[in-house]
Amino acid sequence: MRLELTSWPLFAGIIAAILAIPLLTQDGYIIQLLNIAILNAIVVLGLNFVTGWAGQINFGQAAFYGLGAYTTAIASKSGLPWITTPFLSAVVVIAASLMLGLPTMRLRTYYLAMTTIGFGEIIRLVIVHWEPVTGGTSGLRAIPGISIFGIGPQGQAQHYYLLVAALALAVSVATRVRHSALGRAMIATRDSEIAAEQSGVDTTRTKLFAFMIGAVYAGLAGCLYASSIRFISPDSFSGTQAILLMTMLIVGGMGSIAGSISGAIALTLLPEALRFLGQWYLVLYGLGVIAVIVMAPGGLASVASLSQWRRAGVR
């Protein structure tokens, strides 16, 4: 859905607010939380290609996130210059997504769901048990930060701006894809695979492509995660995380770029804001997801776009 901006002042205001946040709060914890939220947004944006547009259910996104993070951590801890890590992460993730994608693109919904869950589980087991390389359940610490020719962001605030820029880049690529033949092919594949095929779309190739792009988004986000948070463990990339990512997409609005971002940020910040609920948070969260699915399956984006269509006077 085209991101219609109804007024420039509003847009500028939002940008200003985003940029001003580190000035408003010096609390490193909050800024780190925001950083994680932004990283999640990039991952969910990637998931949107696969699930939101191409309609392929995918519970393996957290595994790609983890593969990117671990590749980067292992590479930079073993002395490779940071600049190589995004490329290495992308390569690993593309290989993994092909391994998973090629045999499974023809599977139907339930089978695809289970296969992607299985894939995620296998990756997690490998990470947990390959201790000498991955640090097992304790994870990896003291990961070198971003450094290009010796220069890199210092402190949470600088990382924040860098990540905002990364997100902006991710959004711009996603928007471009959406308004290109590839993006339309993805959505067509989901809406009616048969009609898409008859219109000349190679749906298998399109689905695979969406899968790969989504994986690359997650892998690169993983690279940034490892390099800015500087500590990773298998828990951050588990099957539970995969489910969480999917719910972020649904709550935010499947198929919507703005929805992906808002869902990710909302569901990253919410558990912190509701920490006082303790274990009950997850119970309410589960019920909340069901409520959203039942009552507003288009997520936040559908609620927002209702008012937008009305305002634009489209009949």
Binding site: T51, G55, I57, P103, T104, R106, L107, T109, Y110, Y111, A113, M114, T115, I117, G118, F119, E121, I122, L125, V128, H129, I194, G239, I243, M246, T247, I250, Q279, W280, L282, V283, Y285, G286, L287, V289, I290, I293, V294, P297
Partner: protein, 288 residues
């Protein structure tokens, strides 16, 4: 080696039970319940509450658990099936997963995270023959599976209601049109499906300790079994379950026990690549 076979079959029987519960629901309403594992966990804990916390006799504990699980099944149906009728499969999957999360965390709140043990309903010295040890509990598992299969066969083919359920499973709309009490059969499917998983939980807890997070992996193995056997195919599920139990036991012993859970997925992925419709083929068809 014979010991591994016995252990594998016992484990496989439990997987088969989970799959049977899953398939009962799937055959009736075409929903794959991703929270089936959590239902198993619930059964185990209800049993523990009765038998351990309140020190009721095992028979009573089992009876209460089965009734409770039937009720849980119906609540499940109300929360999940009715609101989501006609929605795409993808959303149904997410909803059942969310229910699983709700159940798991409720369990954590009620019973805490620590593993708890449940005694077996049968006590006694294990059988020994041909160098193999078969515990009383393992025998009980085999017996339970056999009894359930027999009862299920009787119910579905010989009783009137069972036949109605089969009709509903084959074509829900037509069944409704000819006056079959479709909602009642669906309720029974959910109730029985939950009970079957609850029984599986009561059988698992004496072997592996019960803890609220146990549902995830057991549920997934139930799916894997359903996939291996071909969705909708009950005998296939049993064979698939036993097969998976054997693969896992042998794999853990001869390859690596760390990747125990992974064997299930590897088998499933292999089967799906070679037979996209499952080993025994599924019943549903695609329309153009």
């Amino acid at each position: 080696m014979g010991q591994l076979v016995v252990n594998g079959l016992a484990l496989g029987s439990i997987y088969a039970l989970v799959a049977l519960g899953l398939l009962l629901i799937f055959n009736t309403v075409q929903i794959v319940n991703f929270a089936q594992g959590q239902l198993l966990m619930l059964g185990a804990f209800i049993g523990i509450s009765c038998a351990v916390t309140h020190e009721l006799p095992m028979a009573a504990a089992w009876a209460i658990t089965m009734v409770a699980m039937a009720l849980v099944g119906i609540v499940f149906m109300v929360l999940v099936y009715f609101p989501l009728r006609g929605r795409p499969a993808f959303l149904v999957i997410l909803t059942t997963i969310a229910m699983g999360i709700v159940l798991e965390n409720l369990a954590l709140i009620i019973w805490g995270p620590l593993p708890v043990s449940l005694p077996s309903p049968v006590q006694g010295p294990p059988l020994r023959f041909a160098g193999v040890v078969v515990s009383m509990h393992q025998l009980f598992i085999f017996a339970t599976l056999a009894v359930i299969l027999f009862l299920q066969f009787l119910f579905l083919t010989k009783t009137r209601f069972g036949i109605l359920m089969q009709a509903t499973a084959q074509d829900l709309h037509t069944a409704r049109l000819v006056g079959i009490p479709v909602n009642r059969t669906i309720a029974v499917a959910f109730a029985l499906g939950a009970v079957l998983s609850g029984i599986a939980g009561l059988l698992v807890a004496p072997i592996f300790l019960a803890e609220p997070t146990m549902g995830g992996s057991l549920g997934l193995k139930g799916f894997v079994v359903s996939v291996i056997g071909g969705f909708g195919n009950l005998p296939g599920a049993v064979i698939g379950g036993l097969f998976l139990g054997l693969v896992e036991t042998f794999g853990a012993r001869y390859i690596s026990s760390n990747f125990r859970d992974a064997y299930a997925f590897i088998v499933m992925i292999t089967v799906l690549i070679a037979w996209p419709r499952g080993l025994f083929g599924e019943k549903s068809s695609e329309k153009v």
